[in-house]
Amino acid sequence: MSGFVHLHVHSTFSFMDGAVPLDGLIERAKQLGMGACALTDHQGLYGAMRFYKKARAADLRPILGAEVVVEAAGVFGQEADLPPASRLLLPLSVGSARARASGFHLTLLVRNMTGYRNLCTLLSRAHLRADTAEDDLGGTRSVVTLVDLARLSEGLIGLSGCTNGEVGASVLADVRSRAREAAQRLAGCFAPGDFYIELVHTMTPESSGYISALASLAGSLDLPVVATNDVHYLKRTDAPLHDVLAAVGARSALPNPYARTNSELFFKSATDMRRLFSGYPSACDATLEIAARCDLDLGLGQFHFPSVEVPRNETPYSVLSKMAWRGLEERYRPVTPESVRRLQHELAVIEQLGFPEYFLVVKDIVDFARSKAIRFSGRGSAGDSIVSYVLGITDADPIEHSLLFERFLNPARRQMPDIDVDFDSARRDEIIAYIYKHFGARHVAMVATVNTMTAKSAVRCAAKALGHKADSINALSRHLPWVSARKIREVLATYPECRSHPLRDEARHGMLLDIAEKLDKAPTHLGTHLGGFLITKEPVDTWSPLQWAAKGTVVSQYDKDDIEMLGLVKMDILGLRMHSAISETVELARARVGTDAVPEPFTLPHDDPRVYDTISAADTVGMFQLESSGQRNLAQRLQERTFEDIIAAISLFRPGPLEAEMITPFIRRRHGLEKVVVPHPGMGPALADSYGVIIYQEQVLQVVRAVAGYTLAEADSFRRAMTKDRSRAEMESLHGEFVRRSVALGSTEAAAEEVFRQLAGFAAYGFNKAHAACFAVVSYASAWLKTYYPAEFAAAIVNNEPMGFYSPRLVLDDARRHGIAILHPHVNASSADCTVEDDGRAIRVGLKGLHNMNARLLRAIRDERTVRPFDDLTDFLRRTRAESDAAESLIKVGALDSLGVTDAGRPPTRDEQLVLLPELKAVLAREGSAGERALLLAPSRAREATDLGHPSGWDVVRRLGAELELTGLAITCHPLELAAGDLESRGVTWAKDLARCGDRTRIKVAGVRERAQTPRTRSGKRVCFLTLEDHTGLLDVVVFPEALQRSGETIVKHRCYIVEGVLQNNAERGIAVVADVVLPYVVRAPSGDPVRLRRGVGTAPMGPFRGSAGHSDEEEWEIAEAETAGLPT
């Protein structure tokens, strides 16, 4: 017999103890002529689904498995209970995060579906039990017990493990009796013939003796042997990468902590393996026998819905149908023939595809939210469905907005529907609790994400392995942009902000960079999806291994793609902070003006001209999806007047439409600067709303139907075929078919060719209109609230930070520009959150965001104030027991201003209070709370007041500096207001005056940094879009590559700038400053004192914004690009 199959392979999904990439593994196995290959990552099946799918596509038989940590079988009790001389050294712990465990290894391979389910359960039981186990009692965390193993071994093949298996470790330690006992007990857990003694030739001096001893043991127990190479990297040359991962995984520097002395654990050829085991040919033959026995079929293509309760004599379809017809009556008054036809059609398709249960599951969840008044909104292509609309899942009428069902569910392609619903962030936990209760905790788990290395993490990882100290690691990774690790060298060579970066010293850091580049995209640990839930009919641990997530929830080891592949239902229960902000705005407004005076914003008619005035004036800070610098620029050009315009604005600022240059013709045609022309009359009705420009995916379907007579299902398939990567032959085939059918329908060939050319150009870039329409409902609601209740809206936005595009400081600055006073926090007036005062004309800053504030103190302040206001600092400290650091912060931001009276017959200054604070704390500590007003304020050594006119005794520079540092907000005034005189003398033009300046005039502006983004551009050049703010408004600055070369380092390292350049101000392009140079500016008051901006104004690398609420991670790049790319290039 010849040939060999690797049955013990650790991919990068062994998390820091494996460097085999899945694609590389499959390619290598095929290159070496192997018909099958196993994947046995530590403690789980993290990469199993991807491997299964890719291997089958490559015609390689995938064998799924895992190397688990199993309890000791060769001794009774714990290792620690043995006499020291008899103990074996336990291997280092392996696995990711809370699935990490230390103990003996055992390799398990899946034979069939029963084995797969058993392995999932076995792993889940081990990992989930860990939460109740006590780690210091011998380490049972994530360890498979022998009892479980015996009970769940059906369909599994066991291999005794590598040198870290108990059998192998006992042989190496020359404890033969224990090796024998362990082998016997482990074999006893499996069916006869399903347990093998694993031989690994690690090419150490001990290897040949080790193997012969194991073979002899196997012979004496009548157990078969099998050869493996415990593969950890593909080629010998990849071993250093694995060493680095292993070292960092074990939180140590090189050498790798597993004491591996060579680079032999690579994916060897069959010839090499047979030569290595030339004395044991049966061990190599066994790999082929095992591969033949492992024949797992996961039944891909089937769907597995959660169980849905339906009344007797009803079916899921009948229940869904009744609900939908009832919903139709409520949504459409009167019910129209078109809506009836549409609903009939959709219900028939849903029944035909077998998806009624899915809709019922979603309906059930949103009904719960509605019953508890939890704000939510459906989004995505689900908005294309009238069923979603009448069930109350989405809020945009698909008939009114020409949304097409086939874009959501194509009857020609049976694919799991995906309905995304955003819920009020603040109340999302209630939804989650309901899901667990309704479907049962054993049937629900969170979906995982796999976190991978980027440039920054790769550099840190490599530096750590190479033994750099913490300071050095920080210095090496600081100011690195958010790019992939493989681009580090390119970035260092070309990015101006990296010009003086220490990593540019190739002679010193060349090896570090080599390693970091190779670490690109290596999985580092398992994370938890923001809101994805896996819901199953059978217990979820029979479908997917589970483990504890860091925050104490149960998480699947599979990500969303794995779950979709298995045909399981994933529900995205995402939290949207804008919903929380809208709910809070309504609550604050109703508290001020009465419940009846404030309607529910989601049900408003979309026709209020004041709302459109606000949007088209680009006064959109805080508005959902309309606030970014790019959207403000678009609003100046688009001048939205209808709800359709809002949908268009949301859709146009996406990478696709931007890349296809749809905005310019759209704007020009809208303003009559360009004639609306379509090559075929059939396109006219479909493109009427967008002036003949194809913006929406739904329009592609309509055009294809109108011109070539395709059904909508065919048209959707056509659109999908056009958008994916296609070969020239496929394109020709699509082309030929389209033109033939168009001509058959009466079109001229030239017209058909032109339509196809336009479709080919635009199909890939169109945006899903339903998604935009669902968002537009929320956008309009936020715009309406900002228009009519600006103080409540701004307060609610700040209270729900982090969210949106701007910092809380800028949101309050914007409110101040709308005539709303910003009041500093005060212990007798502030709540934890920002509140509205003076009948909507002032916002009182809350105490929650104050540096050093804590939840206990917030509660104490709230509770004590209900008794009576605080009299002075002593009274405050006595009643709240405030910690020194928190009390100091409160004093510095003026939260205790004007309280108490000193000997001088006035309230103490902040300096006097700061001097008193430690003395008062000391006295209170001695006296407890018994002393009543025993302390007199007797300031002595305090600093001289710098502003006697202000109760704080502090001048404006000190007050503002303290606010920026301790709250991140500019409460007293905008920093640049203090430097207005200086800046005006330098010839700076303020933001509010830019609209009055002519196009192409040379200009100088100044502002503090809000954002610096560098989206990918069509040309591949790097352009920085800088959003600045002065005290009069926002400034959009474009820094092209040449200017960026001069100014990149300034942008990254400073917080405030003077920009010299050329103003662009025209109806077609909007207002922006094209920078020649960006200079640093230190803000100084007229007195000459500098204002410290830190915390209030951040510095960060240029790049996409991270951490924005309301968008999924995968949307971050897309949005970041879209937000800025509309500016002139």
């Binding site: 090419m203 001096p205 050498p255 002395t261 392995a465």
Partner: protein, 131 residues
Amino acid sequence: MGHNTAIRRFDAKKAGQPLDLFESASRVPVVLELLATPWIRRGSQIEGPRRCEVEVPVDWDADRARPCAFTWKEKRYVIDALVQQWAVDALWWDRPRARSRRCFRVIARGGVYDLAYDRIGGRWLLVGVVD
């Protein structure tokens, strides 16, 4: 008793080492007994003055992927048996001290020798002699 009988019976010439113990036809049982000797595999325990590092020319048997002969002190040593092989890779991150070797313990002319192929320098070394 009974162990190493073939070795004991062997009529060794008195010319001293290095000499070829296997000029007679009975070399096979001797090699087999040597291979079965426990100490011969304990590579890590063989230390002392006989560890050396001498560059030697080696003939490579490509079919069996092992050395078949080497020349040391102008004498050619035909390899009778491969006792064991191992590999050493260490300190790759410290280039001056980095080591990457494939080692072979062989029996040749009655002696036990450790040969190493130095992957970094691309040369063969005799790294150990066990009389």
